[in-house]
Amino acid sequence: MINRNPQLNDNGALQHLLTTEGLPAAILLQILDTAESFVGVTERDVKKIPLLRGKSIFNLFFEPSTRTRTTFEIAAKRLSADVINLNIAVSAQSKGETLLDTVNNLSAMNADMFVVRHSQSGAAHLIAKHVQPDIHVINAGDGSHAHPTQALLDMFTIRRFKHDFRNLRVAIIGDILHSRVARSQIHALTTLGVPEVRVIAPKTLLPKMVERLGVHVFHDMTKGLKGIDVLMMLRLQNERMKGANLPSAEEYFKYYGLTPEKLALARSDAIVMHPGPMNRGVEIDSAVADGKQSVILPQVTFGIAVRMAVMSILAGNQA
């Protein structure tokens, strides 16, 4: 029991969602199936259900993010939970309070769930280990480590458009090195049985020994996009770039930016995804982002249903 997954309770049910790494396919599929039912709820006139009435969910954002925070907030509100948004980057931390002191204080305010975004890898794990067993933690992105709800909404989108994971070729393209999204995607894709996952990036934007994650490495879009069913673009993370990994954004666009010409190398029914926010003209051309094969806006819509599914499954599981 020493090495057991900190995300699972004694019954093997999901207690926290920290990473897609090591989660069994059955749990990933349970989340996707439940989200399917929540899509139905979000299409009604009354988009709210009473499931989490009386529960308090704290959005702890130690790193600024409008989009992710908003989708978690909408998801929680549609489940009738009370949502408290804390933008901690500009409050207690700047007064010197430690991460765990902040968590202790909020736990004393009877929090039921924490949604945590932090620039430090492992922050959500630390909080999950520290809190009382009746509190659930969702990782909304930690450093360059993991972003499991983004990966899950990507899996949901792929299943919606491609139906079966077991005959797909998927390419993840761009700044793999700094991307927590890419790591979570790779773990989810391989667990769900995608037979071929490729990463396409310049050497300077790939982590060392990335092949160990079970992916095929390409440095060239022309070769890498051949036969691809799903293109998962990544944002060029300017704010995470230390030093000169790239000559310039223009240079990057020339070789790795997704233009209609490069997209034509993939299968004609391939879909294009992007976790947002997009840098148009850097990793993706507007003609592709707004084109017929783009499913970028459905990803945003599905993201709410997927987060509703994660929150309600966690809230229903007791340690």
Binding site: T34, S37, R44, D45, V46, I49, L51
Partner: protein, 168 residues
């Protein structure tokens, strides 16, 4: 314990509904057994309105005790609930809590003109003030037993009794 024939009970239920059919009912089956019954009733009544289905998992009152059901199906209400005469269909009426959840869910789609309830079996044991307008058969079942509707591949319906302790 000798259980009644589910097919006979269904025949009885369908006859009552067809005899009383003075309204244009919009049929809504509750997952899973209620959907099987509603599908059959929908055929027999030759209803002009499409069939609705509800999975009441998101509206249950025991979420805090047992969590979310592992397999939540998607609710589908393909007609305008506002002003409709809804006939809810379920297999076994027991505590009435499932029906309470179903009524709440329906109201999130609109304000129906009326809601009636058809159940294949009324096994007693109500914990809420809920009654069925149409009942296939009434049965007294001990509280520690669970009565379940089954459907064979041929489509034939049957009732089985389980010990509650063995189920959860």
């Amino acid at each position: 314990m000798q259980l009644p024939d589910a097919e006979l009970a269904f025949k009885n239920l369908a006859q009552q509904i067809l005899a009383a059919d003075n309204k244009l009912f919009a049929l809504v089956g509750i997952h899973t057994g209620g959907v099987w019954l509603a599908e059959r009733l929908h055929q027999e009544m030759a209803s002009a309105l499409p069939l609705g289905t509800l999975d009441v998992s998101f509206y249950r009152d025991d979420f805090d005790k047992i969590g979310l059901h592992a397999q939540v199906k998607r609710s589908k209400i393909p007609f305008e609930v506002e002003g409709a005469h809804v006939l809810l269909v379920d297999d076994v009426l027991h505590t009435g809590r499932t029906i309470r959840a179903a009524i709440n869910e329906l109201f999130d789609y609109g304000r129906p003109a009326s809601i009636s309830l058809a159940t294949l079996v009324d096994r007693g044991g109500r914990e809420l003030p809920i009654a069925a307008q149409y009942t296939g058969v009434e049965l007294a079942i001990p509280a520690d037993k669970m009565l379940v509707l089954q459907r064979e591949k041929s489509g034939r319906l049957s009732l089985v009794l389980h010990d509650k302790s063995l189920v959860e």
